[in-house]
Amino acid sequence: MAEKTYLQAISDGLREEMRRDKRVFVIGEDVGVYGGAFKVTLGFQEEFGPWRVIDAPLAESAIIGACTGASIMGMRPVAEMQFADFISCGWDQLVTVAAKQRWRAGTPVPITVRLPSGGGFSGGPFHSQNPESSFAHIPGLKCVCPATPEDAKGLLASAIQDPSPVLYFEHKHLYRRIKAEVPDERITVPIGKARIHQEGDDVSVVTWGAMVYTSEEAAKELAEDDVSVEIVDLRSVMPWDKGAVLESVRKTSKVLVLHEDTRSGGFGAEIAATIAEEAFEDLDAPVKRIAAPDTPVPFSPPLEKAFIPQVADVAAGLRELAEY
């Protein structure tokens, strides 16, 4: 065990997978000589050479498509989007080819796409988005959103060895802010299994990514009024751990679904609708959702603060549920 930042855990985990499996290679814009926009692959090209750490042209469709083809030829590609936002240029390759090939033609597409996501530092409309909801709706794609350094390492290993395409959303605002113990040996975290970030009895929060920490802060505030909050860190958005969520709801009878992506049609709606349908008899209050408003992500600090759910917003929502 050693203490590592979320970023270091991703970088070390990726290097470890490349060392143990020659089929794994990295491709993306500026991932080689430069080591990636966030330096996740710093030093990789020296160690693995230019054909396993590939500086791609500025062409996301080529990057995703090339990963698809290489994976069908037996490789285990890991594509890096410079920012998650740019995956919109690879959308067709993912939803049309990669997502459907196994179901249609029996050809698995074991690719991993790393997506530096999320806001919090005035990245503006095109360097701050959380596009996981869009992909979670597409049958055939898996989406993971680790919140802790340990999960970041373990879910990356699981994503790479998974026989289906996996979108790996790494939250930029956690990169250097979050430090924790990470096992030195190789670990895997099962895709589709949630993690109870904090146990509680009165209200449940179902969330993922950076919002796990926002909930934690909010839960501290509520603890002062003796309201005990359970935080379910989903970790995987598709497939998602319905069992763990319903279990927590049965325990607390009140639930808040929280995410950083925009509200309407966000994946929180799927979770809330499922709870409302399957735990109808267990609920003592309506399933509440907190998410970003339906706008692009703003640049200026006061606007971005109003966009991203803040600790105070979450605390207020939890209080409302507790008092319902």
Binding site: F25, W51, R52, I54, A56, P57, A59, S61, A62, I64, G65, A66, C67, T68, G69, A70, S71, I72, M73, G74, M75, P77, D92, Q93, T96, V97, K100, Q101, R102, W103, R104, A105, G106, T107, P108, V109, P110, P139, G140, K142, P163, S164, P239
Partner: protein, 348 residues
């Protein structure tokens, strides 16, 4: 302006020998041409009989182009053939009855009824099933070539696209990546001069699609797609060049789409004279007479081959019709892959 090399027609038998085909091979090519057209003609009948759901596409006029290129591929090479390239499936050895089963949405089709018409491929034969979205398979084929390059394998990927689809970004991104990295891939353009009802001059502004190859850093070659031997020779050159590390080639096979875009389309927009002109160079007839002139194909041999193809197709049809429709619950199979799915030759 960049002009692609325009390939000569193939003359003598000796020239063909140099290109690597002996008489047996030539007869096999002829047989594959007959089989390719036969499958699509039977399919057409099935469609009219109401046995094929949805729409139905054929590659009539493109048989020599698809058979010629596929014949030049090595056993470990891979490809992403399209809706005009039945010949590729045939040459790689797919069993015709499976194709009929695919047409009819039966469980024994390569996609088990999940997808239709030519949206299929047997990956054990080194083929990857196309998607409708054109030319989305070009970046995928480029990725196959990338894998070969990374592993230092002497294998080649072949990616097909239509002249219409050449307008889309995926064609550009794939050729840009393959060209800058000199990957072992051959881009084959099925230029049948029409994209549904849209003529070529609205899809690209050059004389030939292959003219753009040089701006991607590799050679462009234009060949008469109704001349199976010329197509074979140029494909062979391109594939072996790629195999030797010489990088990509763009091979443009010029033909005319001899039927509508799909079965519902009467192609009223194609000028009659154009059709009549191209009807004169029917790929099958052309090669048949070449064989008679240059490789003493006689009536007996010809009938033997034709008869064999006919029997094969009859049996295939019967077997396909016996194949059941899928069970509803099979719908849910395989949305996500299982580890066992990876135990395939191509995932090796």
């Amino acid at each position: 302006m960049a002009i692609a090399r325009e390939a000569e027609p193939v003359g003598s038998l000796s020239e063909v020998r140099e290109a690597g085909l002996d008489r047996e091979d030539l007869l096999a090519v002829y047989r594959n041409l007959l089989l390719t057209r036969g499958i699509e003609e039977r399919g057409h009948i099935l469609y009219r009989q109401g046995k094929i759901p949805g729409s139905f596409y054929t590659g009539r006029g493109n048989e020599a182009a698809s058979v010629g290129v596929a014949t030049a591929m090595g056993p470990d090479d891979v490809g992403t053939p399209l809706h005009r390239d039945m010949g590729v499936h045939v040459v790689r050895g797919v069993e015709p009855w499976r194709i009929f089963a695919q047409y009819m949405g039966r469980v024994d089709g390569p996609t088990h009824g999940k997808d239709g018409n030519v949206h299929m491929a047997d990956s054990r034969l080194g083929l990857i099933a196309m998607v409708s979205h054109l030319p989305a398979m070009l970046p995928v084929a480029t990725g196959c070539a990338l894998a070969f390059r990374i592993r230092g394998e002497r294998r080649v990927a072949v990616g097909w696209f239509g002249e219409g689809a050449s307008a889309r970004g995926d064609a550009h991104e794939a050729m840009t990546f393959a060209g800058t990295r000199r990957l072992p891939i051959v881009f084959v353009c099925d230029n049948n001069q029409w994209a549904y009802s849209t003529p070529s001059h609205l899809e690209y502004a050059t004389e030939h699609v292959a003219d753009r190859a040089e701006t991607y850093g590799f050679e462009g070659v234009v060949v008469d797609g109704t001349d199976v031997l010329a197509v074979y020779r140029e494909a062979k050159r391109a594939i072996e060049r790629a195999r030797k590390g010489g990088g990509p080639t763009l091979l443009e096979c010029v033909t005319l789409r001899m039927e509508g875009h799909a079965v519902h389309d009467d192609a009223f927009y194609v000028p009659k004279p154009m059709l009549e002109e191209w009807a004169k160079s029917d790929p099958l007839e052309r090669f048949r007479s070449w064989l008679r002139e240059n490789a003493d194909l006689d009536d007996e041999e010809e009938e033997e081959i034709a008869g064999g193809v006919k029997r094969l197709l009859n049996d295939a049809l019967k077997r396909a019709e016996e194949s059941p429709l899928p069970e509803p619950d099979q719908l849910l199979d395989g949305v996500f892959a299982s580890p066992e799915d990876l135990d395939t030759p191509h995932h090796k």
